[in-house]
Symmetry: C2
Subunit: 495 residues, 2 copies
């Protein structure tokens, strides 16, 4: 039996976030980055299970929103890729090219999808014929490829990326806008499941997705003091449907181009989870995506090992078998290895298991077990008579604590940028600023802050209304030029 | 609302199997083959759901056999690929090469995995240190790529392939053999779930997997008169562990190379399902992998549409909600479109839905609904008082009928090849033949039959014994040279 390596993490999170981040990922065993291609990694069983749980949550949301899960080829002919001018400008310098197969040079080089617009839209052109075919709502969960020339960083900047992408076609702009609203609603629910607070910004014109009419970006704030874009929702209007000829016959016989939207997210979500919730003892996984939600550790000595392990197993097969966390059975692991409890505690804390349940003879005599929450380390005896409810309640407490702690980290670093910092001054956090809307002013902010104008802050104001840009108070002036402000923008250093 | 195209299939299955096969796939809407790269296709929502259901069945089997689902990069450096000489000889001429990224030529070309030995084994070399790390059991479900130069055929010969691959490492040959036995057991259960009869053959030396010590192939027999290899299980011994240096410290401190096995299956399984079970009205899906297991068609007129649709929905939400087919809730679709029942029947038969349930006013008055099995078209009134049990029983009848019909097709065409046919004679079916073991004799059989020697027939003789080659009766002589026979081989034309 492999021994547990009880060496603590070499740095503290508050001390060196960047190094802590990589070390936690490595020590928790989510991936193995020793694969011999930079920016491409191996998902271990543990890490891949987190991804699959996240994928299943996404699927449930999209299926409920009448999307079909499809699967398109990885390879895209250069000729199709080149049809939308802005798109190829945006992605052309970072795609991988297949130029040979077997012993042949290919007549038309094929690229590995960086995203699937140019794979899907020639087919959408065949699929959409009449207004009865609309709306068309599809999504896929696939691997995508970007030849990053900057330094790679696990989950955050990779060359092979686990990717979710929804693509929809609509009869008109208004119906496409309704899809954008649905996507924002899905984002809200999904982010809550991941215990992930975020901000939505309308990206500035020069920073929107290649080919989009507008881009809403979903940014999480990490304790490093930087934001991480974890998702995006794009309105394409007719920007792709015209070059790809996705048109339909309207009810009165006319011909019209569809309006399109996309919604994308990636394994960056996991990067945010690691960075937000982890601590100096390791990973902390939100219960809904934890491969193991509860680790049960029997506390035994030689003479009573069999008895205590048996009683622990009986709890799992008995009362806990019917426990449900938001409708799903619990994922419980019984660690019955014949080693001391200390190393077990160490290992499962490192791997971020949300709840540990210790089953010892004295507790059992008192008709209790001892629960230890990963989020705050609090210990709590649970009554065997209400074990299922109490375990579920503890998991929900962990979930809530994670969400609140992450929001508190962000709140601490949120501020208003009333005057421009001097060049080279320290800038931490996520700021709001008033802006006149002119690009030179935004670029000056970016230069002095050494960060990015994330864009106009967008707020959701309920279930069915269109999210709107937050307006500056009357009389507000641009932080850069002093002219009349038209937007409230978010400003931050970014990944 | 899109109209139903009620054109019947243009050919009958018995008349032109090859064309029927492609037409059924197209009309049932499993895929769209109009993607602009040959041998790469688009999975529609319907087809991808079948694949996902098959994947879930595979996952359950492998997880129960202590495998971890992992996910390795798609791209493999040429330098790693070249380490096992036979392997590169076997695959070198059919791989896709990435030679450029962005504007750069790559120093080391990268290939798209045709299979993942050469991606995984450099990592296994890092993962396996001591006997405590063994056995190592992993699998993944991924897309693989082969540059086929022969004509492509949907699901059967593709250039992008949905693929399952399990890779294991063991302390010694015997433990690896135990894994081969487990894999054969899994194959047996899984094939039963797909209603898929098959034969296992030990491939001849010259036809085994590139790098394997031996290869067991799983062949299905299609009504075209040819076999289709749908899976394979390979014993590698130390053939890969030596070049990739996958070694461990034994309990007594010595160093030893691991013994490895793999188990692979692909979307060919779906090709076999289509070819075996389909009929002149379209696809027939085995219930356990049907995206829609039961389509409920309310039979209404204008005046009672709302009432009948409401009653049908009440059956789905009421008694059928608790129905379970082998432990899983049913996948039921209510077709409440305002069109005549005829086109609905046509469409769902084309798409292979195993059971149709008609809900009409007269049936309801009799406290029944009418079930129609896709497998044999039999109509049967089901009692509302026992609806869940009776629907499940009908689905199991469909399942059994499919399995038996497929086995009967094969049995009809099974024969013993006592004498070699003359060159150019017609050969149909799957034959046994006695063989001396010499390659020239096998090649002569292959030439005259215009088919393949699939290899020594292997029979499973129970749950825990090693599957063994079937031995010829004493005194049997080689069908080719007349010398003493040592093996009973299967002979067939193949895909």
């Amino acid at each position: 039996m492999a021994e547990v390596d009880e060496t603590p993490l070499s740095v503290r999170k508050a001390q060196d976030f960047a190094q802590w981040y990589l070390e936690v990922i490595d020590r928790a065993g989510l991936i193995d980055k020793r694969y011999p291609i930079k920016g491409m990694k191996v998902w271990t069983g543990y890490g891949w299970k987190v991804i699959r749980l996240m994928d299943d949550l996404i699927r449930a949301h999209l299926d409920a929103d009448s999307h079909q899960e499809v699967n398109f080829p990885l390879l895209i002919p250069q000729t199709e890729f080149a049809k939308e001018a802005d798109h190829i400008k945006g992605f052309g310098s970072e795609v991988y090219w297949v130029t040979r197969a077997g012993d042949n040079d290919l007549d038309v080089p094929l690229l590995l999808r960086p995203t699937s617009e140019t794979a899907m839209y020639p087919m959408f052109s065949l699929w959409v014929r009449s207004h009865a075919d609309l709306p068309l709502r599809t999504y896929q969960l696939v691997n995508t490829f970007r030849y990053e020339t900057k330094a790679t960083r696990t989950f955050i900047r990779e060359r092979e990326i686990h990717f979710f992408e929804a693509h929809t076609c609509h009869a008109d702009f208004e119906d496409a806008e309704a899809q954008v609203r649905s996507d924002l609603q899905i984002m809200e629910t999904f982010a809550e499941q991941l215990a992930l607070p975020y901000r939505v910004s309308r990206r500035p014109e020069w920073d929107k997705f290649a080919g989009a009419d507008y881009s809403l970006a979903v940014d999480a704030y990490l304790p490093s003091g930087r934001t991480l874009q974890v998702g995006s929702i794009h309105q394409y209007r007719e920007n792709f449907s015209r070059p790809y000829n996705i048109a339909y016959e309207t009810a009165d016989g006319a011909r019209a181009f569809v309006h399109q939207t996309t919604y994308g997210m990636s394994e960056r979500l996991l990067g945010a989870i690691v960075g937000l919730h982890g601590d100096d003892r390791g990973l902390v996984l939100p219960p809904l995506v934890a491969p193991i939600q509860v680790v049960m550790v029997p506390i035994f000595r030689k003479h009573n090992r069999e008895e205590i392990v048996g009683k622990a197993r009986a709890l799992i097969d008995g009362p806990l078998a019917s426990a449900r966390l938001r409708g799903q059975p619990l994922r419980i692991h019984l660690d019955d290895r014949d080693i001391r409890p200390g190393p077990k505690f160490f290992e499962w804390e490192l791997k971020g298991v949300p709840l540990r349940v210790e089953v010892g003879p004295r507790d059992l005599d008192n008709r209790t077990v001892l629960a230890v929450r990963r989020s705050d380390g609090a210990k709590q005896p649970l009554q065997l008579s209400h074990l299922a409810e109490e375990v579920v309640a503890q998991l929900m407490t962990v979930h809530t604590q994670l969400l609140e702690a992450a929001a508190a980290v962000r709140a601490k670093d949120e501020h208003h940028l009333a005057v421009l910092p001097s060049k080279g001054a320290d800038f931490v956090g996520i700021a709001t600023a008033h802006w006149c809307g002119a690009q030179p002013c935004a670029l000056r902010v970016e230069e002095l802050v050494e960060g990015s104008v994330l864009g106009a802050r967008v707020e959701q104001t309920g279930s069915s209304t269109t999210p709107t840009d937050v307006h500056p108070p009357s009389g507000a002036t641009c932080v850069s030029c002093g002219g009349a402000a038209t937007k409230v923008v978010s400003v931050a250093r970014t990944y």
